[in-house]
């Protein structure tokens, strides 16, 4: 173990406190310690020079805040069940795991009867029971060698969700994870960790929602690891409803086996700085993924999507379609690389990012890219940024619609191209309301050519 100087005393203090209160099995102690050391070596990636992964996103504001781990409260954090159900997509028949300030709340959760042997549990219990699959799976996909946020999350592994779907199991009703942040005396940080292990020829629908109720500067540093076995299908939704001063770093790592398919849709609103760092590795022939996203920024918000797809093997297919709605002085970044390895012949990939820029001061940096080492592939990518032009608005006004109504209609229509791909009715319904309300009319400059 290195004895280098402690660069982040606040995190270090909480790290030590966690190790004292919840040491867990010895492999976990070692894992956390290794991750902490790595985090301390790497430090937060605040330097932007030569830092491709964080080129357009300034982490200094996040690094300047001494976030603290939430105080232990009662497990509902003062929230009532009715409130929680309105914060995210919800259905009583689903398995709904609710986490308040990073901690599993049994009282607010509803666990549907186990379906075909599927195990859904809070991670803290799984760690307590020293679950074999959890021990074998954790930190296998989310490498922290070169990733300070993954390292930090791993150093603080304590709670989150653990989902195991056995071979041939079809979990018909979604597993719903709701992470709620509430206000503390100081800005708080949570490190939710989710581990999803799907066997062969199985099906899973997974919904993750991150909600901040404070209006303050909380920081959620989430990591998802998901391994999808041969012939399985996963439908994944990730929703972020942050506050304008909130910080969010979501690191998702997906590994796909032969002939598996994953559709994953990300919906992001709010946040002073939100990062959606998503990597899918298509690790065997016939694997395919379809990644969609919609992000809406306003005020001085900042959303950074880094979506990487690794075509590691031949005959793999990926589709990526993200859309952004920007207003106010907000900023969005869309980056990501589709890599086609040398023996990944017949890879087929398409990447698109489209933005609707509603004000002069909003800005988007959209830089999807391709790295192709194979020669027999079909790949394409494109990015656009458009605005609502005077002719369009005038046409709508000439039919009696005022500018606010017309603009809202155009924004909704723009969003619908992504929202309407959502096949889970409860998620679809929820998104329709949230995104309609996420763009305040006063932040739109009409007819603005950015």
């Amino acid at each position: 173990m290195t004895t280098s100087t402690i660069r982040y005393p606040r995190y270090h203090e909480d790290f030590q406190a966690l190790a004292a209160i919840r040491p867990g099995p010895s492999w976990l102690v070692d894992l956390r310690a290794a991750a902490w050391d790595r985090f301390n070596e790497l430090g937060l990636p605040t330097a932007r020079r030569g830092n491709e992964r964080w080129k357009y996103t300034n982490l200094r504001p996040l690094a300047a805040i001494a976030f603290e781990s939430p105080q232990a409260t009662d497990s509902t954090g003062g929230l009532d069940a009715g409130t929680v159900r309105s914060l995210a997509p919800w259905d009583e028949a689903w398995t709904n795991l609710v986490f308040v300030d990073g901690k599993f709340s049994e009282a607010l959760s509803t666990i549907a009867p186990a379906q075909n042997g599927t195990v859904c549990s809070d991670l803290a219990s799984a760690l307590n029971g020293n679950s074999g699959p959890v021990r074998d799976g954790l930190a296998q996909l989310a490498s922290f060698d070169d990733d300070a946020f993954a390292a930090l999350n791993t150093a603080f592994i304590n709670d989150g969700a653990s989902i195991q779907v056995p071979d041939n199991a079809v979990t018909a009703s979604p597993v719903n994870l709701v992470f709620v942040s509430t206000a503390g005396p100081q800005p708080q940080v949570t490190h939710p960790r989710t581990l999803v292990q799907v066997g062969r020829n199985a099906r899973l629908t997974l919904v993750e929602s991150y909600v901040d109720l404070t209006g303050g500067s909380n920081f959620t540093n989430a990591v998802l690891e998901m391994a999808v076995g041969q012939g399985s299908h996963v439908d994944h939704f990730r929703l972020l409803m942050d506050t304008p001063d909130g910080f969010h770093v979501g690191t998702s790592r997906v590994l796909q086996g032969q002939d598996s398919s994953v559709t994953s849709s990300s919906f992001t609103t709010g946040a002073a700085m939100a990062r959606n760092d998503f990597l899918v590795t298509l690790d065997a022939p016939g694997a395919s993924c379809d990644l969609r996203g919609l992000y809406a920024t306003t005020g001085s918000q900042h959303i950074d999507n880094l979506i990487n797809i690794d075509h590691a093997k031949p005959h793999t297919t990926s589709r990526l379609f993200y859309k952004g709605i920007l207003s106010g002085k907000s900023r969005a970044v869309f980056g990501g690389t589709v890599t086609v390895r040398r023996d990944a012949q017949k890879a087929d990939s398409r990447q698109t990012d489209k933005n609707l820029v509603l004000s002069h001061e909003a800005e988007v940096d959209s830089k999807p890219s391709l790295l192709i080492y194979a020669d027999d592939v079909q790949c394409g990518h494109g990015a656009t940024a458009g605005h609502i032009d005077q002719d369009t608005l005038f046409y709508m006004q000439s039919r009696g619609l005022d500018r606010a109504t017309a603009t809202k209609m155009l924004i909704q229509a723009f969003a619908a191209e992504i929202v309407d791909t959502v096949g889970v009715e409860q998620v679809h319904g929820f998104l329709e309301t949230v995104f309609a309300g996420s763009i305040p009319a006063e932040s739109v400059v009409f007819g603005g050519r950015p």
Partner: protein
């Protein structure tokens, strides 16, 4: 003054209207008067200012009105926002209808009809009532009902776009309809359908201004007046016979006689 039929006052009075775009004068003193129940045709060579006039009436923002006034049913039309004009019964069928990405035609129509009804103090139509109304009007303009489910004007053929404008007009039942070359690009059947649509709207309580290049439209819709616009001025007005004369002789004939009289 504001009698409910609007019969005692003119529908539209345009006085000495001067309009500039990007510092050049496009309309250089337009005068004309439209009463309820009348159909006026406006003809004139390309670039003479017909669309400019039509767009100024509908409230397009990029034009600078440097002189003159426009009174619509006793009120200052130029002081109103475009949506206010629409709600008070002004309708422009665009020469080049605009595509609304992702917005479904029926959804757009519903919003337009609801905005109008709200203005008139009427209740929003229920989905079913709206549907019935839409189906009826779709039959009237003989468009493919599928168009209503598609994105407004996106991928519509030229003729479909024009018919869609007439569908909107039929739904909104304007008091003053300005049709900017709605007849251009229509096949013979579509022309008849559009003309039928216009004739159905025609009544004693509303008025129609038709911008057209062709006599063939006027075979179906007989105008009460024909105006010839050149270089931003109405240089001649007459009855339906004037349109025939133009068709025969072209515009040079008028240009020469205008220049001779100056």
């Amino acid at each position: 003054m504001n009698d409910s039929n609007g019969n005692n006052q003119p529908m539209l009075e345009v006085h000495d209207l001067h309009v500039k775009v990007a510092d050049s004068g496009i309309l250089n003193g337009i005068d004309f008067l439209v009463n309820a129940g009348e159909v006026h045709a406006i003809m004139g060579p390309n670039g003479s200012g017909k669309s400019t006039l039509a767009n100024v009436l509908a409230g397009r923002p990029e034009y600078e009105i440097t002189q003159g006034e426009v009174v619509y049913r006793g009120n200052d039309l130029l002081a109103m926002e475009p949506e206010e004009r629409a709600r008070q019964g002004v309708f422009l069928a665009f020469q080049y209808p605009v595509e609304l990405p992702g917005v479904r035609a029926w959804q757009f129509l519903k919003a337009a009809v609801d905005a109008l009804r709200e203005h008139n103090g009427e209740e929003e139509l229920s989905a079913r009532e709206f549907d019935r109304m839409l189906r009826e009007k779709i039959q009237m303009v003989e468009i493919d009902p599928d168009l209503a489910r598609r994105t407004v004007n996106e991928g519509f053929s030229g003729g479909e776009k024009k018919r869609n404008e007439i569908l909107q007009m039929a739904m909104l039942e304007p008091k003053l309809a300005v049709l900017d070359e709605t007849d251009s690009g229509l096949d013979i059947d579509a022309l008849r359908i559009v003309a039928d649509g216009v004739n159905k709207l025609r009544s004693d309580s509303n008025a129609i201004v038709l911008v057209t290049h062709y006599q063939r439209m006027l075979n179906y819709i007989t105008p009460d007046f024909v105006h010839v616009l050149m270089d931003g001025r109405i240089v001649r007005s007459g009855g339906p016979a004037l349109a025939h004369e133009l068709e025969e002789k072209g515009y040079d004939w008028i240009r020469e006689s205008v220049e001779a009289s100056q």
